[in-house]
């Protein structure tokens, strides 16, 4: 599957122009009372399901913009969240 992603600046492009930035995890947690386990769970422990997820991509070979989009890892198509 040579799929495409829709860059908000450049439009649909070959996925190989982009860098994968992982699933949306929310903002970086506050560090004041962050336990090591909480931190490493936040960084590392997240199973991707074969269902649409919001994730980050960087248009490395193009405009150089990070954006988030919804993609289904089971099909590799851009696909919004199940409603």
């Amino acid at each position: 599957m040579t799929f495409r992603l829709t860059c908000p600046v450049c439009g649909a492009r070959d996925v190989y122009e982009f860098r994968y930035g992982g699933p949306e995890r929310g903002m970086r947690p506050a560090q004041e009372d962050l336990s090591p386990e909480e931190h490493f769970r936040w960084t590392q422990f997240r199973t991707t399901r074969p269902a649409p997820q919001e994730e980050w991509w960087y248009h490395a070979a193009g405009c150089g913009v990070w954006f988030s989009t919804w993609r289904n890892p089971a099909t590799n198509r851009e696909e919004g969240p199940a409603t």
Binding site: R28, Q31, L34, W56
Partner: protein, 990 residues
């Protein structure tokens, strides 16, 4: 052999001979021939020997990629004889045999099939185990088809690439494909059409049958002219499709001619919609000895005669299952070929017009009969034909046996585009069950046979594709055209339903009186017989995907085309499973096997050169790839770089460090971004001073280091390691993506060259090219100044000491760099200036105890573990520094790996980078970098070791072990602080 008289469908020029060689013999074809048509015309019947049993094989299918008709041409193996254009002087040879394939010593293997049931090798040869390598080597020697000339780089072809963007891609240039292209090609719509044959026309290109007052080939030629002249259609011929990948990326290759300026090219076409019109393939009839040279599918016999004016045989018998084959029989008879009999596996349903024509031609027609065995030892000499129940068997003498079990859609392209199929009891083929919304099918691949229906289905598919693209996207297309398109589509949909649909197909897979089927081939490529399929089922490999793997069905060069569907049907029949529950095996690209060289294309290597590349090359630089860059690693054959190192320590050296990452960051929130990604407190910067710091990842590993210099209000200049330059902007933006901060980044890595002038005479050299005050007071260590060099070239100058000497880093505009290099060179000559490369730099910095990320760090160690914890601003939690939580978590952890310095004990040997540190049976760590230092007079090094190696006392020993494949060497070393050279920093501060 004398050619048939040319007709309007003939594609060869019979009066233009083309000489070539076949297994060493000189023979002749003519202009326009394929290798196969030329060989067949020259009377060659055996093209090669089969994969496992070494049976003689000939021309079975002109279209196919099957192993039977693969030959070697000019040292290149596995070339399709059926599709490769003949060129003068070609040297063609047979495969899986030495010399003339008419005789083959290994032909005896054909008698051993009883001892070689499906999967037999898994049950044999392994007891006793020590005997296995012997058998394995025999098996290896027998395996394989062609011989690759490994002494040749196969480099002579002119190769290119073509990347197309289209709205509609049409796969297949037959009548339906052409009609589809013409229907879709409207103003603003780009259509690309791909045809594997060298001309458009598909199967109507050679059919002389007349429908609606026009001969079919005339219709095909007319459409081809229309397509060629159409401004919005690009038609590529001799351009097989290798696959349709995600989101309609159609790929393939194309064979060029002298006029094209290329011999072969790789092409890709990104389309918004795809129309597949790939037609059909003939299903081989399974009967004993169905692989004998002289057995062929009907299109092959027909095309030999009609396209190539080659007589396929003197006396033919047909055992077929579809109307086109009957038409072929009638047509061949009209061309003067003696057709003895035509058996039709369908008891009824044959086109009455064709049956009448057969009768008129005096050809015996045998409905409800099929071939049970081909006769003849090396080539077909006759055939037995029987009723399907086997009761009435008749024998005919012939040298050509045209056989098929009807036709099936050529589903490869559709399948790779995401179509699903199910078996139809009406057509007895795998039919389209569902198509992706942007994929359309047209023509015979949908089961149609009627000529008008085929062309109409193409026009309809073209319109459907257009409307699909226009749907909701009115702006993308001229809206004025749309109403008429919709009307046209409605009309054509209605008209389609009036035309004949897919007729009933041929219900059999194998002929009568099959017996065990031990010489009846389902898969010609790897000699998979009917009997083998039965054996697979018996052993439990009874679904197509397992039978494929266990019995090697459909894994050879012909791939899915024939066996993929037939094995599924065979397994259904053998196991008694309802055919509707059976799925054919997965189609894997490439649909047609391209040469690796073709796919690779010109394979240009895009890499970066520094502005000083040529200047260093002329001074003897030896270049190595470092990331995107070519960099000078050495300046002599001495890869320990003694002279380069000594010159930096004693005089002065010049290093091109241009790949160093260089960035500008500015804006009101720039400082916040710096605080986020750097581990130190970046608010404590002073003008005119470099602030050294590091970046970490979320597990506390150091990933980058460099200096930051304040340049003005909210305006900073910073450097990164060369490896990180390409991902720095990305990193900053990622880690601040939720913050909405206002800052801007400019990558100046390529903008500014960086020249490192290092050594005790560095100041003396620089002084000669600038008026700036370089005194230690005016421009101290860690200082940053903007100076003018030479005729006023502005330079950003940093006084840093990576290599441990007095050192200036000059960042100058890349276009000015060669001139500045020359100025420094001239100025430095009296001080013994010499260039130095990356390896010398590596040794010099290690001697100083400076780490290189990736050399003295890896994923097991944090910033703290490598002794750089002093950079970390521990109290700062508000900035949410990347890496800080991990450092906090690990700061008091016991038993982590730590970076230590060591001094190899006297007489202790000279270990190399990558030596390991051991204790008893345990490995405690490894040596990152170690060198013998001329300046120190001993060998120093840095190692990452488990904490217990360090011990409690100040003086601890390391046992270093090395064995690179000979004898083990053990070395003792003493742990020392990793500041080996000039530990007080006197030299770099002076």
């Amino acid at each position: 052999m004398r050619r048939l008289a040319p007709s309007p469908t003939t594609r060869v020029e019979v009066d233009r001979p083309v000489p070539f060689r076949w297994v060493g013999r000189s023979i002749e074809g003519c202009q326009g021939d394929t290798v196969a048509s030329a060989l067949w015309n020259a009377g060659v019947r055996t093209f090669g020997r089969s994969f496992e049993y070494h049976r003689p094989r000939g021309l079975f299918d002109l279209e196919g990629e099957g192993a039977s008709q693969l030959v070697a041409i000019d040292g290149l193996p596995n070339q399709s004889a059926g599709t490769t254009a003949l060129r003068a002087g070609m040297s063609v040879s047979a495969q899986n045999v030495s010399g003339d394939p008419r005789s083959d010593l290994y032909g005896v293997l054909d008698r051993f099939d009883r001892w070689m049931p499906a999967g037999f090798y898994y049950r044999r040869f392994h007891r006793p185990y020590r005997a296995w390598p012997f058998f394995q080597n025999r098996m290896r020697a027998l395996a394989g088809l062609g011989v690759l000339d490994t002494s040749s780089p196969h480099d002579d072809a002119r190769r290119s690439e073509l990347y197309l963007n289209a709205d509609v891609a049409v796969v297949g240039g037959g009548v339906s494909g052409m009609a589809a292209a013409l229907a879709a090609a409207r103003p603003g719509v780009r259509v690309c059409l791909f045809e594997r044959r060298p001309w458009l026309g598909g199967h109507m290109d050679w059919r002389v049958r007349e429908t609606r007052g026009e001969r079919l080939y005339e219709r095909a030629h007319g459409l081809a002219e229309e397509v060629a002249a159409h401004p919005h259609i690009r038609a590529l011929t001799a351009a097989p499709v290798t696959g349709i990948w995600g989101e309609n990326l159609v790929t393939g290759f194309q064979n060029g001619s002298d006029a094209d300026g290329f011999d072969e090219r790789h092409w890709e076409c990104r389309a918004r919609a795809v129309i597949v019109a790939t037609g059909t393939i003939e299903r081989p009839l399974v009967f004993n000895h169905n692989d004998r040279p002289g057995v062929m599918v009907s299109d092959t016999a027909w095309r030999l005669a009609r396209s190539y004016a080659v007589r396929p045989g003197m006396r033919a018998v047909f055992s077929v299952g579809d109307d086109l084959a009957l038409e072929a029989a009638v047509d061949l008879a009209s061309l003067g070929i003696d057709v003895a009999a035509v058996a039709d596996a369908r008891a009824d349903g044959a086109d009455p017009e064709l049956v009448a024509a057969l009768e008129r031609a005096g050809i015996e027609f045998l409905p409800g009969y099929a071939a049970s065995a081909a006769l003849g030892k090396h080539a077909v000499a006759g055939v037995t034909i029987a009723t399907l129940d086997g009761s009435d068997e008749r024998r005919f003498a012939c040298d050509l046996l045209v056989a098929n079990a009807g036709r099936q859609p050529d589903i490869g392209a559709l399948s790779s585009a995401g179509a699903r199929f199910r078996h139809s009891p009406h057509t007895h083929t795998f039919e389209i069950e569902s198509l992706p919304a942007d994929v359309f099918a047209a023509g015979r691949v949908t089961g149609l046979v009627d000529a008008e229906a085929i062309e109409t289905s193409g026009r309809r598919a073209g319109l459907e594709a257009f409307v699909h693209l226009a749907g909701g996207l009115g702006a993308a297309f001229p809206s004025t055209d749309e109403p008429s398109v919709y009307a046209e589509l409605t009309k054509i949909r209605a008209y389609s339903s009036e035309l004949p649909g897919p007729p009933a197909g041929c219900g059999i897979l194998h002929g009568p009186n099959l017996g065990s089927g031990r010489k009846a081939f389902l898969d010609f490529d790897e000699d998979g017989t009917w009997k083998n399929a039965v054996q697979c089922a018996e052993q439990g490999f009874d679904v197509p995907e397992l039978a494929k793997r266990f019995g090697n069905f459909g894994l050879g060069p012909g791939q899915y085309r024939v066996p993929g569907q037939n094995v599924a049907m065979a397994m259904a029949q053998i196991t008694g499973t309802a055919i509707e529950e059976i799925r054919c095996t997965t189609v894997r690209p490439p649909l047609i096997a391209p040469k690796l060289a073709t796919v690779a294309g010109p394979n240009h290597d895009s890499y970066k050169r520094t502005p000083l590349h040529d200047d260093q090359a002329s001074r003897g630089g030896v270049f190595r790839r470092a990331g995107a860059w070519q960099r000078a690693r050495y300046f002599s054959d001495d890869h320990t770089c003694r002279a380069e190192i000594r010159n930096v320590r004693e005089n002065v050296g010049l290093l091109d460090s241009s790949p160093l990452g260089k960035f500008r960051i500015y804006g009101p929130d720039a400082i916040h971004a710096l605080q986020r990604v750097y581990i130190s407190d970046m608010t404590k910067m002073k003008p005119g001073r470099c602030k050294y710091s590091a970046m970490c990842n979320d597990t506390g590993n150091i990933i980058d280091d460099g200096v930051v210099v304040p340049m003005g209000r909210d305006d900073y200049y910073f450097t990164t390691s060369s490896n990180r330059a390409a991902s720095t902007v990305e990193w900053f933006r990622y880690h601040t993506r939720y913050d909405g901060w206002n800052y801007n980044l400019v990558n100046l890595t390529d903008t500014l060259a960086s020249i490192n002038l290092a050594g005790p005479r560095a100041r003396d050299v620089l002084r000669k090219v600038t008026d700036a005050d370089l005194s230690n007071q005016a421009f101290p260590y860690i200082g940053y100044r903007e100076i003018a060099v030479g005729d006023g070239i502005a330079a950003r100058c940093m006084r840093l000491g990576f290599v441990g000497e007095l050192s200036y880093e000059l960042h100058v505009g890349a276009s000015h760099a060669p001139h500045v290099w020359d100025l420094l060179w001239s100025a430095g000559e009296e001080f013994g200036i010499q260039p130095f490369g990356l390896e010398a730099q590596n040794a010099l910095r290690a001697e100083k105890g400076h780490v290189i990320i990736g050399a003295e760090s890896e994923q097991r160690v944090t910033l703290l573990d490598i002794g750089m914890g002093w950079l970390w601003s521990r109290e700062d939690t508000a900035s949410k520094k990347v890496g800080a939580p991990a450092l906090r978590a690990c700061q008091d952890q016991p038993n982590r790996m730590k970076l230590v310095g060591f001094r190899v004990d006297e007489g202790g040997g000279s270990p190399q980078d990558g030596a390991i540190v051991v204790d008893g049976d345990d490995i405690l760590g490894f040596v990152c970098t170690t060198r013998y230092s001329e300046a120190l007079g001993w060998q120093f090094g840095m190692a990452l070791v488990k904490e217990r190696a360090i011990g409690d006392g100040d003086v601890a020993g390391l046992e270093i072990y090395e064995n690179l494949g000979g004898r083990p060497r053990r070395t003792r070393a003493t742990i020392v602080p990793p500041h080996f050279y000039d530990p007080d920093g006197t030299r770099l501060r002076s």
